[in-house]
């Protein structure tokens, strides 16, 4: 079990672990959506990304992480 922040108010819903999803992008890149734990920082404010986390792997093997924190997720997509 992992704990998501709740984009509606941050009450810490417990959610079952979601399987990773891997998505092929143009240019041979791979985007992997993973559970909101780990090294990702929010692309918008730099806080821990605890709502949407993903990694993009380039064809040369390099990888960077992206994501959104609950606050920015809620601001971006008001629920």
């Amino acid at each position: 079990m992992s704990v998501h922040s709740d984009p509606r108010g941050g009450d810490g819903r417990a959610l079952p672990a979601a399987p990773e999803i891997v998505c092929g992008l143009d240019g041979g890149r791979l985007l992997t959506l993973y559970e909101p734990v780990g090294p990702a920082r929010c692309d918008r404010c730099g806080a821990q990304a605890d709502d949407v986390c993903f990694a993009v792997r380039e064809p040369d093997g390099s990888e960077r992480h992206g994501g959104l924190c609950g606050t920015c997720f809620a601001e971006l997509l008001p629920l």
């Binding site: 399987p19 999803i21 092929g24 992008l25 993903f54 971006l76």
Partner: protein
């Protein structure tokens, strides 16, 4: 050109006994003594008739259909053997008492039952606790049986008529309303019921759906649809308007197609004349988003995780600010179930942790919306299979450039540019 659809048998046949038994088991599992079903689509699903009735389902006992009106039709159409003419809750309470049920939890569809009816139930069943059984029934309805998938496939195939009609009809000077009339005529003659069932009290949709163009594409108005159009007057503030098309305009259609009660849900965007480089770029992005979401759909994946994939990809592609809306009007979903109603669970949105299952039929609808360009939209329907999902319908998944003389070219290739899979399926 109008092509009637061949549905085979005039009236679809379903296994109502299995459906009723499934609901009875679910009720028993939840400790619900009985359910009283009255919403038309739920009634049709369980009994085979959409005549105004109250259907009493009691675990371990035969169901009873209380026909509020038109009992002869209900009796002729329903798969329920015991049909009685009564609009009175007192008769239902009497039947419960006859079966020894004088207290316990009584399920109603509390998501849609009108307040007046609920208050009547409080008076008629004072010793029962009235509880919501809609979620149980909707979860059951979310997984379609083969007959339902066949009907949804028929509804989806009718979208080709819509596409054909718009390609023929889009031209400078023609109005959204004229195109709406063209689409409605083609669909009605093909068997579209003309009604779009929605499980909410504050929404309606025209038979031809929402048609919008130009700057009206980014104006969300009047209901739950994101690319809604503004309608003909303030009294009906969604759908086609009197706006006339001009070269370079984008036009969007988003509609439900109801064949034999089952709704397909599709959307396409068209550009009149030569598309700008920006429209071509946005068309490629929205196709990439749809490919990713469709590629992620398979049994075992949660609805919310598919939505988060869409958000992550939109963020990566630099379109998060205009993904599913703009300026605080973003719709928190990338798809939803379809069936006897246009919008059914599960919702591919952040709040829905439903685990997807084979047999679910979903509409996938990524869109980019902004006052800067209007809207670029794709919506397609899929049925989940054991291995992933299968597309319903056969209109290429693309924005189309229409020349105003009856020809159209897709802006994106039909071969998927992006695929998504659960990591464990990749190995």
């Amino acid at each position: 050109m109008v092509r009637p659809l061949d549905l085979g048998e005039e009236e679809p046949r379903f296994d109502h006994a299995r459906r009723l038994a499934h609901l009875a088991t679910a009720l028993a599992d939840e400790g619900i003594a009985a359910a009283l079903i009255s919403q038309p689509q739920d009634l049709y699903y369980l009994s085979g008739t959409a005549q105004p009735c109250n259907l009493l389902v009691v675990p371990g006992a035969e169901p009873v259909l209380f026909a509020r009106r038109f009992a002869d039709l209900a009796r002729a159409q329903s798969a329920v053997a015991d049909v009685r003419e009564s609009a009175s809750f007192a008769d239902v309470a009497g039947e419960l008492a006859r079966r020894g049920l004088t207290a316990g939890r009584l399920g109603l569809e509390l998501d849609v039952v009108p307040a007046a009816l609920y208050r009547g139930a409080l008076r008629a069943f004072p010793t029962f606790e009235l509880v919501d059984c809609a979620a149980l029934l909707l979860a059951q309805r979310a997984v379609k049986d083969p007959q339902e998938v066949a009907l949804l496939r028929a509804s989806a195939s009718a979208f080709a008529l819509v596409h054909e009609t718009l390609v023929q009809g889009i031209a400078p000077g023609r109005t959204e309303l004229e195109l709406a009339a063209d689409v409605e005529r083609a669909l009605r003659l093909a068997g579209h019921a003309g009604l779009v069932a929605q499980r909410r009290w504050d929404a309606a949709l025209q038979p031809e759906g929402a048609i919008a163009s130009g700057p009206l594409l980014a104006t969300m108005s009047g209901g739950p649809i994101t690319v809604s159009g503004v309608g003909l007057t303030r009294a009906t503030p969604f759908g086609a308007s009197h706006r006339a098309l001009a070269p370079g305009d984008l036009l969007n259609i988003d509609l439900g197609i109801n064949i034999a009660g089952y709704h397909a849900d599709f959307a396409r965007t068209y550009v009149l004349g030569e598309p700008s480089d920006e429209v071509v770029r946005l068309a490629a992005i929205v196709r990439q988003l749809e490919d990713a979401v469709i590629g992620a759909l398979r049994p075992g994946v949660s609805a919310a995780s598919v939505y988060r994939l869409g958000v992550a990809l939109a963020q990566e592609l630099g379109v998060a600010d205009v993904f599913q809306g703009h300026s605080g009007t973003h719709g928190p979903y990338v798809g939803h179930g379809i069936g006897l109603e246009l919008d059914e669970p599960p919702v591919l949105g952040p709040r829905d942790e439903t685990t997807l299952a084979a047999g679910m039929v979903l509409a996938v609808e990524p869109k980019l919306i902004s006052p800067a360009f209007g809207a670029v939209n794709l919506e397609d329907d899929v049925v989940l299979t054991a291995a992933g999902c299968e597309l319903l319908g056969d209109v290429p998944r693309s924005v189309f450039a229409v020349d105003g003389r009856g020809s159209a070219e897709p802006l994106t290739p039909d071969a998927p540019s992006t695929t998504a899979t659960p990591a464990e399926a990749r190995a």
